[in-house]
Amino acid sequence: MAIFLGPATSPRTTEAFAQPVRMTGPEGPWERVREAVERHGSVVVHAQLGDWLPRDLEAPGLRGLLGRDFARFQAMTHPQIRARFVASRLLLKHVACAVIEASPESVELAYKPGGRPYLRGLDQIDISLSHTEDLLLVGLTRRGWIGVDAEAKDRPMLGLGTENQVCTPYERRTLAQIAEERRNAALVRLWTLKEAYSKAIGQGMRFRFTEFGFGPQGRDVQVLRPDGSPGTGEEWTFHTCLVDRAYTVSVALFDAGFGDTNDTAAATMLDAGLIEALVSGDGGTSPEPREPRVPDGPGATDSGPHVAGPDRPRHGPVPDGPRHGPGPEGPRHGEPEGPRHGEGEARGG
């Protein structure tokens, strides 16, 4: 059984995603990003770190661009970590602001307890961030939730003991049927799909990757139970492609039924209180965004994920309630803002 990397062939998947857009700098052009969101409701943008790295990391304007992230940035000591941090935040903010038609300085990035980034006060836009090597990757949707992940396509993963940590029994059987020279790439694809899905549902790597799986490329990709039977419905769409001929990029998208939210301009999406807070410089008074109700996800039953029930949110504003209820591995008390390992934006994951 062959697992190919390449554009999705499913009409449903093709409809959900435009091809990832390469963005070489803050100057744009941003029309393709806006067009993708207008047509598909979602966009994936990739960039090279060097294109988004300011020449002067001590420039005064950086404080305003990074907002609350500036203090964290200042505390970083490793040059590469600092570079990746600032470049990825600038890309993420510019993508979001191209869509909502606002200035990067006016939008605040914040982080969920698990480290997942979100746009403060813009509940109907969901974002995801990934980076590996010099690749930066941003996903944005107004349809529900999105998770993106990137990994070097030839990164050695096979035969290093990770299959047992990553794959379901069904996936291991499927991998064994793939020609040896393509098996590692297939495992990288599975890895990025699982990372993307985990980011979309907000659990990072805290769900065991052996509790949910994916089938081969070339058919509708959906979450599978460990035995290979279907685990989610059509609300979820997945896509894997190659970027820069070097990186496997996967996207997971949950359609929460916000498809009719065509107007994403900040002027009509931001609530009045937040605008007032931003204008006054008091960005900390806005309430935390509400999250959608939880879709049935991995680990929902002993046998793995199952198809969501009829109470999945389909229309209207984002309802109250956590994306996932606090489990036995919930956020630690007093955890500072910022990504946790394996969630939100872990490099290559």
Binding site: M76, H78, Q80, I81, G115, T132, E151, R155, M157, L160, G161, T162, N164, Q165, V166, W191, E195, G204, M205, R206, R208, P328, E329, R332, G338, P339, R340, H341, G342, E345, A346, R347, G348, G349
Partner: protein, 75 residues
Amino acid sequence: MHTVEDLIALANQHLGTALAPHDAGAELTELEDWDSVHLLRLVALLESELGRPVPVAEVLQARSLRDIWAVAVAT
């Protein structure tokens, strides 16, 4: 393996990282040569080295190599 420095040496030997002993307490997200693939591979290495399962869920909560070490030796 007796110390977190042994864990760091194990990672460097098998994962190709260039971690230093003083990285033991650093945030994993701020280590130059570290990512989620490394983490899973390290779990597999630890299980092989220690000869017993390492609780992945607890390792995933770790914020530093020292935290990972603490989880590994507590099992």
